[in-house]
Symmetry: C2
């Protein structure tokens, strides 16, 4: 039996309970303020309330919540974000910190500790940084917290192909491989809990699924506004679909989530 | 005559005024608190005061200040960070946001706008993300603010070699090149203001300097605790040296900065 992290078991449980393969990307944010600081007191409160309104509508219909810098930076890691984590826990949903960690070890360790300590269940990191004095600290810290690490294997924007699809040649063996396959192999070697592969590239989801250890999840963003199709990504091997703007910019987020859930659940 | 951004002219001016090629990495931070939120009110204030104490000692002896997530996340982008930017402006030093941007376009654009709007002069980004729907938005936004973009070309930690030194083969031309050279070429093509090359790899600084457009600066971190040697990096072609822990953990930061300045200024 393969041991999985608390993050994976929590995610599978909430997915079953809510009958959903949808991860909400709560990438809401706010406009710039002319007045650099004072106007922000109210803006932060309004932003938090907007997040609360959305969660109240669909918290019982999704599998997890992903939060990124557009929400973390204005709300403040030690201001409103702990309240938000607390709010999400109402529905027992795992919360993923989409901060695409890509720094040196001591900074990565700081980031990992501080995010996991306030209750995030998993961290997204960029494997391009490498292991020694890089992501080693992220994995070590996540293991201490029994939390998850999710690696970027293929992002969802058009320019992702420049790096993630470039061909890398091993100077010892002369074997050529696309970058994303090397990242998938690192996910296996490093014991990642999940990988990100954009829904905009279903063929790459298939290829990655074939090389990835069975217990590693594929999370697939880029559905909706960015052009990816959720059911197609699930058919290709994605475990969960990450959707943001199509849900929270919808006139009826609850209905939209119901429709997405239905389309994903129809996939055999 | 080559047009340079306000960031570059500001940096050159402060470097001349303070007779320094040292960029202070103000990577100070604070320990975890057991109590997740309430204890942070005081911790944030103490952290800000510590930053103030350090800057008061060496603000007139360095060329610029670099701030990273270890300080931005606890202080809060819209809480103490605007005060800190304001404080640094006392010495007319440019402030670099070391947030290693590596996200999709709409998130990158949000990050760039919000950091530059509160007064940061330059942003560090990871070229691995690619251009279309990736870093295009960072460059566009920085140009609007007449600010700088600095690309990671070779990081300073041991594992950096995994990605930054891998050999990439161009599938059209079959030409093989190390990743960091491709990144240096992208810095030229995209019109970056500076690049990061770790002081731990002086030979790579030389190679990068040879391919990089003359107006693009090389900023070199990893001096001191990480093992790099500042004068050697300058001799190899670095424009500025980034130093953190060796300065702010010193029992006499002012003396330490004087010594570093002297050693860097001796290089012909």
């Amino acid at each position: 039996m393969i041991m999985v992290s608390r993050f994976i078991s929590k995610l599978k449980k909430s997915s079953t309970t809510n009958n959903s393969k949808l991860i909400l990307a709560l990438d809401i944010s706010c406009e710039l303020k002319k007045n650099k600081k004072s106007e922000w007191v109210n803006a932060k409160k309004q932003l938090y309330l907007r997040a609360e309104t959305i969660l109240n509508k669909i918290g019982d219909k999704v599998a997890a919540v992903k939060i990124n810098n557009q929400l973390i930076l204005p709300l403040g890691l030690y201001e409103y974000i702990p309240d938000l984590i607390n709010l999400v826990s109402t529905w027992n949903l795992p919360v993923i910190a989409d901060i695409k960690i890509n720094d040196v070890g001591h900074t990565n360790e700081w980031i990992a500790k501080h995010f996991l300590n306030i209750g995030f269940d998993a961290l997204i990191a960029n494997p391009f940084v490498g292991w020694a004095g890089g992501l080693d600290k992220v994995f070590e810290t996540a293991r201490k917290y029994n939390s998850g690490v999710i690696l970027l294997v293929y992002m969802s924007h058009p320019g992702a192909s420049e790096g993630f699809n470039q061909i890398v040649i091993n100077s010892q063996t002369n074997v050529q491989k696309p970058q994303f396959l090397l990242f998938a192999e690192k996910a296996n070697k490093w014991g990642a809990d999940g990988v990100i592969v954009g829904a905009t590239s279903p063929q790459i989801i298939k290829t990655v699924r074939n090389v990835l250890n069975k217990n590693i999840l594929i999370l697939s963003p880029g559905v909706g506004v960015q052009g990816g199709e959720g059911a197609e990504a699930i058919r290709s091997g994605a475990s969960y679909i990450i959707v943001g703007r199509s849900v929270f910019d919808s006139s009826d987020p609850s209905l939209t989530v119901n429709q997405i859930n239905e389309s994903l659940n129809q996939v055999q």
